[in-house]
């Protein structure tokens, strides 16, 4: 299945996978806050944070190379922001931004790839994240592959008929394809809306709540937070 890159590892049976997703989101957000609020010069603390992240990654059974690969895609953006610090000749600040951002990104990757996307969305909804935003992300997740398929098909149809060998004509055709893709998406949105209305949609999407916080979830958040607090306030 080529449409599985979002959920590539989120169904691995692991401890982290079955922690209540609301608890997981809260834990990782607090983790990131800890990272951000740690003084820049406490490299030891950052090292220990990394150890915790690695431990969690072990618990999640997600292959390390996958996490590493995902984190690489974010590095250019982090570097771009950190560059401003270099321009102002402040290498400490550069390291500070870089390390904190990278650790935060690792946290997010771990959270997102150890949770099926649909479950993550539901958890965000239960945590009172704005409904409209959740709805938009949910439709994006559902339809991005459909739209990608449509684009692929149109590109193939173009290839099969293009013999112009002119870069300019190629680009022109591509621009047309993008235009058509936009219109098709718009029309699909209307069709989907009708399908929703047919089943009683009244402006709000509701889903069933099947989350339960158990002892293991509380143990998880307490363990992580206590170790973070120890690192932050005792060792350093």
């Amino acid at each position: 299945m080529r449409h599985s890159f979002i959920d590539a590892h989120s169904n691995i049976e692991s401890i982290l996978r079955y922690i209540d997703p609301r608890i997981k989101i809260i834990t990782f957000i607090l983790f990131i806050l800890f990272i951000i609020l740690t003084p820049a010069n406490s490299l030891g603390a950052f090292g220990l944070y990394l150890v915790i992240i690695l431990a969690l990654a072990l618990l999640s059974k997600i292959p390390f190379y996958f996490i590493l690969k995902k984190s690489l895609t974010v590095i250019p953006f982090v570097l771009m922001i950190a560059l401003f610090a270099i321009v102002s000749k402040d290498t400490d600040k550069f390291l500070n931004i870089f390390i904190k951002a990278y650790l935060a990104v690792l946290c997010m990757i771990l959270l997102v790839s150890s949770t099926p996307f649909a479950v993550l969305l539901k958890a965000l909804e239960r945590l009172r994240f704005p409904k409209l935003m959740v709805m938009i992300i949910s439709f994006m997740y559902r339809y991005i592959f459909v739209i990608e398929d449509e684009l692929d098909k149109m590109k193939m149809a173009k290839e099969s008929r293009s013999c112009a060998r002119s870069k300019w004509l190629e680009n022109k055709a591509l621009a047309n394809i993008l235009g058509v893709l936009f219109i098709r998406s718009y029309e699909r949105a209307e069709a989907v809306y009708l399908a929703m209305c047919s089943r009683g949609f009244d402006g709000e999407i509701r889903t069933l709540d099947d989350f339960k916080i158990e002892l293991k979830d509380l143990a998880f958040i307490v363990c992580v937070l206590v170790s973070l607090a120890l690192i932050r306030f005792v060792f350093i």
Binding site: H3, S4, A118, V146, C197, R199, D209
Partner: protein, 233 residues
């Protein structure tokens, strides 16, 4: 027999002025299975969209003795299960479970009832194993089946199906036909698949250019070669 659907003098034009349906009169009785056939652009899908008030032409449409009015819409939409042709439009939630549960939740059923009706609907279409999957990971045939489950979970009395067998391979098509045969609801099926009509519909309505050309017993209509030829079937 009770009338499940009663349409009187239905006229409808698209917003750009093109006439889509003119002077449609149709009664469908409870328990009937009606095939709606006709060439491309005949107005089959447009007619189906009138059955649950998505489109409202200038007319009288009654479903189970309820006139199509804003007040009645929530009830009508739970009674008429409309399944669209493209399963990617029909299935819009991130998981199969949430999608099949969408209708029952909107009907304000309790949590246990919703859960039960989702599971029952998935058993009916033989897709229980897909309950936790995402629609984008399903094959086309599976998506078609689950599209049907998304309305079966609302326990509708009328099923309005738009091209249920289109793009299915022969095996899945046969499975779908036998599935439809087991469903007891009043059915109105818009399709080009005359074989399907022959197998499950007792009555056929032939639509062309927005008008009903012919309405009769399946065998009589489908054996009239000239009629079918005249209307590109």
């Amino acid at each position: 027999m009770d009338k499940a659907i009663e349409i009187r003098n239905l006229n409808y034009s698209y917003p750009d002025g093109t006439a889509a349906l003119c002077d449609i009169n149709l009664d469908v009785f409870a328990g009937e299975c009606v095939g709606l056939i006709g060439p491309n652009g005949a107005g089959k899908s447009t007619l189906l969209l009138h059955l649950n008030g998505i489109l409202r032409g200038d007319s009288q449409v009654k479903v189970l003795d309820l006139a199509i009015k804003d007040k009645n819409l929530p009830v009508i939409r739970s009674k008429v299960g409309l399944v669209f042709q493209d399963p990617d439009n029909q299935l819009f939630m991130p998981t199969v479970y949430d999608d099949v549960a969408f209708g029952p939740i909107n009907m304000r059923l309790s949590k246990d009832e919703v859960d039960l009706s989702v599971k029952r609907a998935l058993v009916e279409v033989d897709m229980s194993s897909a309950i936790k999957r995402s629609p984008q990971h399903l094959s086309f045939g599976e998506k078609k089946r689950i599209s049907l489950a998304t309305v079966l979970s609302m326990k509708p009395e009328i099923l309005a199906l738009d091209e249920p067998s289109s793009n299915l391979d022969p095996k899945h098509r046969r499975e779908l036909i036998s599935l439809l045969q087991t469903l007891k609801q009043t059915k109105i099926i818009a399709t080009h698949d005359l074989q399907l009509v022959l197998e499950i519909c007792s009555r056929v309505v032939l639509l062309d250019k927005g008008s009903i050309i012919c309405d009769g017993k399946t065998r009589d209509v489908l054996s009239n070669k000239k009629l079918l030829d005249d209307h590109s079937l």
